[in-house]
Symmetry: C2
Subunit: 89 residues, 2 copies
Amino acid sequence: MNDTAIKVIGLVAGMFTSCAVLPQVITTYKKKKASEVSVFMFIVLLTGNLLWIYYGILKQELPIILTNLLTVILNIIMLVLKIKYKGNK
Amino acid sequence: MNDTAIKVIGLVAGMFTSCAVLPQVITTYKKKKASEVSVFMFIVLLTGNLLWIYYGILKQELPIILTNLLTVILNIIMLVLKIKYKGNK
């Protein structure tokens, strides 16, 4: 397989893993509750994504920076929703 | 910063993003319900991780293969729990 095809697979893989939090954000926004959703999952994910951004800056790899920045934003939205609906069971 | 330090940051980042699903698996196992957890999040994540493994095989990058394999296993456990506790509200 040529290099371009491999790059495309990497980009598609990155898009999937970056956007994975989006369905959870939508579900939580609709249900207005998230007591069964682990807050630690998003804290661990957020920490990992921030480290990836730092790694991307050090390696000057824009795709790593951008895809992880997207996940950071989605994670922050999810954490805000989690706090907002804290009382709802 | 030297190359080894950058590699360590990348490895730690990878460990965080790979293990992020683990707290959700524990929460779901304890609560015995997951109706508020989006099944699509784990399907999208699983698809992304499988594509990353394929990418890792093509690029012969063992760290990419191993970290994503760990997430695949955690994702499958989470999906099994989600199906198992489907009726629990």
